[in-house]
């Protein structure tokens, strides 16, 4: 090979290496930009809105559930019914079917627990530290944060229907975000910098419009749609709190009392929270993270019984008759002044959201944000 050719080949190699290196650095920079160094970008008028596209109980899962459910999953209502009232025996409807329903809807502390209830085990759970303390009963987050308060996880962690991605409720609840009456909005105002801001205002609304999707439709949402606020039926679920953004993560102050209405299987239920707060990683087009709070145990059980109801509870192997007893044991907040029994249980949702333009009633459509 001539010297000129050798030099040319070498030059190309060096150039190729340089280009590759530059690209690698650029990609790394982009990644760093996305998560660690969000451009000091202030949304127009200091306001950015999001619509929640996924909201479901935060379930820590290991492959096969071996760590957190070493004894397997709980038996569901169908399996229990067959075990309690086997075929071939005399089975009056009143003493079998109606009795099972009564135990779901009218639980009594004296109801027997014929089966062992399998709670989620282990020290690890997703969630937030709600009380600022590290207690023996608390979990540790996979990222190492201690003091995680999420006792509802012990209740549902070993129920087939709750475990993703294919647990019946796990995917179905996310599917239901397509419904307009499940349009939960987060509006953040006073934002000087989406990566760091000591004080922002966070408004929670209920929307009323369909989401924009890509050509595939379904849950393939895209950012940039508009959402009108439902001021009529959503007024009782509207709340405001303060927050701060640190390294792109929004953390809000707790909302003392907060209602979330959610339609699942054509039934709308209202969850009653206390000390509800959000911790979301924000980008200009999306947000994801966790909520935390104490949910009223009675409202939560009623929601499960009502919305999921007989057939789907059986399909998701969710024995609410016994769960009525277990949730009372696991409840860890707000004791009843008369009985001393805790009325609320620590809780966490995993939340996904996408950027939308939130339209207030007094605004003209399309004028909210020219971006």
């Amino acid at each position: 090979m001539s010297d000129i050719l050798k030099i040319s080949r070498c030059s190309f190699l060096i150039a190729g290496l340089l280009i590759t290196t530059v690209n690698a650095v650029a990609q790394e920079d982009a990644t760093a930009t996305r998560y660690q160094d969000v451009p000091a970008m202030a949304p127009v008028d200091g306001t950015i809105g999001y619509a929640i596209t996924g909201i479901f109980e935060a379930i820590y899962q290991t492959p096969g559930g071996i760590a957190e459910c070493p004894e397997g999953m709980n038996l569901g209502p169908r399996e229990r019914f067959v075990a309690l009232y086997p075929e071939g025996t005399h089975r009056p409807l009143v003493e079998t079917q109606l009795n099972s329903e009564i135990r779901m809807w009218h639980p009594s502390p004296d109801d027997p627990e014929e089966f062992q209830y399998l709670e989620a085990q282990g020290p690890t759970a997703l969630g937030l530290n709600l009380d600022g303390e590290i207690s023996p009963n608390d979990f540790t987050h996979p990222d190492g944060t201690e003091g995680i308060d999420n006792q509802i996880y012990r209740l549902v962690g070993c129920l087939g229907g709750y475990r993703g991605p294919d647990g019946l409720y796990s995917f179905a609840y996310r599917q239901e975000t397509r419904r307009r009456d499940n349009r939960l909005l987060i509006e953040i105002t006073g934002v000087d910098d989406l990566s760091n801001d000591d004080e922002v205002i966070v408004n929670l609304y209920r929307g009323r419009d369909d989401m924009i999707t890509n050509a595939k439709g379904g849950q393939n949402y895209v950012a940039g749609g508009s959402q009108r606020i439902d001021t009529r039926m959503g007024s009782r679920t509207t709340q405001q709190t303060r927050g701060r953004i640190v390294d792109g993560v929004l953390t809000t102050e707790p909302i003392p009392e907060f209602l979330i209405s959610y339609n699942f299987l054509n039934t709308i239920s209202v969850q009653k929270f206390r000390d509800f707060r959000l911790q979301l990683r924000l980008t200009p087009t999306s947000a994801e993270g966790l909520s935390g709070g104490y949910v009223q145990t009675e409202a939560w059980m009623t929601h499960v019984n009502r919305n999921i109801s007989s057939h789907h509870l059986a399909a998701g192997q969710t024995p609410t008759a016994q769960m009525n007893q277990v949730i009372r044991r696991l409840a860890d907040a707000y004791p009843d002044p008369e009985t001393g029994e805790n009325t609320h249980i620590s809780h966490a949702y995993e939340i996904e959201a996408i950027q939308v333009f939130i339209i207030h009633p007094d605004e003209e459509p399309g004028a909210a944000n020219p971006n």
Partner: protein
């Protein structure tokens, strides 16, 4: 822009429908418009067996009945979670047989459970007597004759066996149908439904059955709601230019002629728009779904009802809940209905005061009628109150049993009832608009449970 595209689409469709409407116009000249009272729905006459008639009913509009006014029902096959029941075409599955066990059709409970009060449980034909045809009866039009297993003959309509309902108290009552049965959900029981003639509407239009508190709604044949404006007249409209991008005029074909309540006016030279009861008709472009009601939120605009819903009691109120408007009592507390169907092949209902009360008591009070009265109190009628419709009534109930009582019975109470079945409020509802008791029970209140009386679901 979407409004222009939809308007163009309408114009094209109206032109195409001209020819078909000519033929229908000829046929419809043969139809009669019978009004028992104002604002009832007109229908297309059709040949019927002797003695059959069509009555305007409060709930279902024009309905076929026998000579005594007893409403006709059919029971189409329906898929449930674990099986199918109902009448196959040309057959009757409703027999004079005592059933004693469940069929396990409605999940999750297995078949073979012993029914309560099996000794006194009525048979299917006790509640749904077949409309028998005489030996020498002749089939006519859509009416056929079906051979029953016991050798008798039963009338069929469009191949579906026809029945009456022994619990329709008076001529023209339609208490046996489920207003929302058209949902087709696997979780909804296999309800019977009333039958009636086709509505008298031009091609391109349809009538949607009333849902709970809404009347029977005029729609396009694709189900989109139709609206009118209060300022419009038979010969004028306030909606022109930009307005027509939101409110899409429903144009009439050039060869259409007025008939009965239907007319047209020339909104611009050579362009005719349909009118109904003297008002030009529009679609609301932003309506997010068929049978929508969002257009009625715009001041001055309203849906078109061929027939209004039965008037609810005067003391009742309307409150705003989490999904829309709910019917409430005078204090603003949401009204609930109780629904129950047994998981049997015959799918008999179990929500009537004449039925066994074990199902209701299980849901409302863990089997205890006293707790039922606490958790789900009846809506008592105030002294002197009277109903303004047939579908709402005041009935006497024995509160210790939940059954009907003789009005002279010492402990009986007078309570409001919807379609002869008492309605309730819920003790956990604290303020107007609360619906914490809705969909409580088996299968979200559809199989054995309670549901809020929703007048309008915005979603």
């Amino acid at each position: 822009m979407p409004g222009e595209a939809r308007a163009t689409e309408h114009r094209v469709k109206s032109v195409k429908s001209s020819l078909s409407f000519i033929s229908v116009t000829i046929l419809s000249c043969m139809a009669t418009v019978a009004h028992a009272q104002d604002l009832t729905e007109a229908w297309m006459n059709e040949p019927m067996p002797a003695g059959f008639q069509i009555m305007s009913t409060e709930i279902a509009g024009p309905t076929f009945t026998d000579a005594d006014g007893r409403t006709f029902y059919v029971w189409p096959l329906k898929a449930l979670r674990a099986g199918i029941t109902g009448d196959a075409p040309g057959q009757s599955n409703c027999k004079n047989e005592k059933l004693t066990l469940t069929a396990g059709l409605m999940s999750p409970y297995p078949p073979g459970l012993a029914l309560p009060n099996a000794e006194t449980r009525p048979t299917c034909t006790d509640i749904w007597p077949p409309m028998l045809a005489a030996e020498n009866a002749q089939e006519v039009g859509n009416w056929s004759i079906i051979q029953r297993d016991d050798g008798t003959q039963q009338w069929g309509y469009k191949d579906q066996a026809v029945y009456t309902y022994t619990r329709d108290p008076a001529p023209g009552d339609v208490f046996g149908t489920d207003i929302e049965e058209l949902s087709g959900s696997l979780d909804r029981p296999a309800y019977r439904r009333s039958i009636g003639p086709m509505p008298l509407v031009p091609p391109g239009f349809a009538v949607a059955p009333g849902v709970m508190g809404m009347g029977r709604t005029l729609t396009t044949d694709e189900g989109w709601s139709i609206y009118v404006n209060e300022q419009d007249t038979e010969e004028s409209t306030i909606c022109h230019d930009e307005c027509t991008l939101t409110w899409l005029p429903i144009l009439a074909p050039a060869l259409a002629i007025p008939q009965g309540e239907w007319g047209m006016f020339e909104r611009s030279p050579g362009v005719y728009q349909w009118t109904f009861r003297g008002k030009p008709l529009y679609q609301y472009e932003p309506d997010p779904k068929t049978q929508g009601v969002e257009g009625a939120d715009v001041p001055g605009w309203s849906n078109v009802y061929t027939q209004e819903a039965p008037a609810y009691p005067e003391s009742f109120t309307i409150q705003t809940g989490f999904v829309g408007d709910v019917l409430a009592d005078s204090r603003g507390m949401t009204i609930y209905t109780y629904n129950c169907t047994e998981d049997t092949v015959d799918q008999l209902r179990c929500d009537h005061p004449d039925d066994t009360q074990v199902y209701r008591k299980a849901m409302c009070g863990a089997g205890d009628q006293g707790k039922c009265l606490e958790n789900w109190p009846y809506v008592e009628a105030m002294p002197g109150e009277e109903s303004r419709s047939r579908s709402w009534s005041i009935v006497s109930i024995d509160p210790s049993t939940g059954h009907y009582a003789n009005p002279d019975q010492q402990n009986s109470i007078r309570v409001w009832a919807w379609r002869a079945r008492p309605v309730y409020t819920f003790s956990d509802d604290q303020q107007p608009g609360d619906t914490y008791g809705s969909d409580v029970g088996e299968v979200r209140g559809q199989k054995n449970g309670l549901q809020a009386f929703i007048l309008r679901n915005y979603f």
